[in-house]
């Protein structure tokens, strides 16, 4: 672990990331000393910092630290957190706050191979996402809704979250896509939800319709799947009493998601 550039495992109890969730993060896998799609993660991190008015650490510093960590930990789940740092007491963010940031590395998860090949049984969570357009899409540290939703999962590998109107928005830790008549769709995240890197890559690579979706419309899809940087893609085989057996589009998308990003346009 690195905290503000130095080996450490602790952060000040006055850090606003802890006191208010006043920060952002990204999570991504490293394998054999390489991080796929790093520039995408960096770009999203920079965007999320800008949305909250937090100064993102410079790219060259983050990349140097990442390279240093990859030597020690060639494989693992990398987490990079950037917070507004310490400030005076109270909610008011000072313009001259000094950013805090830290890296953590944990073991790669091992999911059943059937999740990828045959798909998962997903569920709908009872928890409804609140609508906050000022925070929608941002991968910020206010994640209690995800915690409450994840507590509902039990043996279910992933749960789908709806807003108060019944629109399906995302998974507890993934973005949602569906296919209807050959066309890819994903939910609109302008009022709630987290915009992940794999979702961004898909939007840049494929024609994807971004729209609202209710449960009946989703269940009428030809394929449904969820993506995130760790999975990277799980088709949904069973959901709300319905079943799907073939996932031809999902398979092509998965092959794309697993590509290295040598042609990545983010710089």
């Amino acid at each position: 672990m690195l905290v503000n550039g130095s080996p450490a495992q602790f952060i000040s109890i006055r850090d606003r990331g802890l006191l208010y969730g006043d920060g952002v993060f990204r999570t991504f896998p490293a394998r054999q000393g390489r991080v796929a799609h790093w520039l995408w993660h960096l770009h999203q991190l920079q965007q999320d910092c800008a949305a909250l008015g937090i100064q993102c650490p410079p790219r060259d510093i983050l990349q140097a630290e990442l390279q240093q960590l990859l030597v020690q930990h060639p494989s693992g789940v990398y987490k990079l957190v950037v917070t507004r740092g310490e400030g005076q007491r109270g909610y008011v963010p000072l313009p001259q706050s000094h950013t805090s940031y830290f890296w953590d590395v944990t073991a790669l998860p091992s999911y059943p191979t059937t999740y990828v090949q045959d798909g998962i049984t997903a569920c709908f969570c009872d928890l409804r996402l609140a609508e906050q357009s000022r925070l929608a899409g941002i991968k910020h540290l206010n994640r209690l809704e995800n915690v409450l939703a994840a507590a509902e999962l039990g043996d279910c590998p992933e749960g789908l979250l709806r807003d108060a109107h019944g629109n399906v928005i995302e998974g507890t830790r993934s973005n949602l896509f569906w296919v209807k008549n050959g066309q890819l769709h994903t939910p609109d995240l302008s009022r709630c939800g987290v915009a992940g890197v794999q979702r961004a890559r898909m939007l840049a690579a494929f024609p994807v319709t971004v729209c609202a979706v209710d449960v009946p419309t989703l269940l009428a899809a030809d394929e449904i799947f969820v993506v995130n940087s760790l999975m990277p893609l799980w088709p949904i085989r069973r959901l709300a009493g319905q079943a799907w057996h073939t996932f031809p589009v999902a398979q092509r998308v998965r092959e794309f998601l697993q590509q290295e990003d040598t042609t990545c346009s983010v710089s």
Copy 2:
């Protein structure tokens, strides 16, 4: 500062309070080695922990630590934070998580005496509170909305927050009350907002109508005031182009709020 019972200023970067805002807190003043309404703060802390399924540290331990700190710091703003502690990676909260908790003490704020005597000029924040009934009322660590709202304040001592429907809910760091025809009112917090200790004390001591309030209804009030444990009560003198000049009910309420809680029914 005390972290998990020991003098420390740092917490693990794997603490869920930092990673997800998965925790709760209370803030209250100490003066001359005494904390007023401590049992109310403890009670609300215990209630908020229970609402999130976090095990609250035992009362006797918290009280012993508070007494210890009051010897070193007879005056100051005390902050007590309880988090779900460390867990495996991911949102799922483990049932056997070990709670983390810490105390911090900072200098008492010095507000202009005119705020208490003559009232404040308040404003309406543009930020609208999201509605999440599962988290409403809880003083949890997901406070980015308060941060964004506080960033709007500028020279305004306190701003009022509305929900998406235009109902006025609370101040950025205070609870709201108004008086109409001699009757006290306060907003319903079942869908958003934080239920503070001074609000709870008022609900226990006075007949208060808990209801929705829109801006025109609020502006038609005979008195408006905000409360929290540090102020403890500021009348609102100016708001949205209107002015109020006398605050007879607010003055009586302030005298009540400043009383010690020797007769407090919470135990």
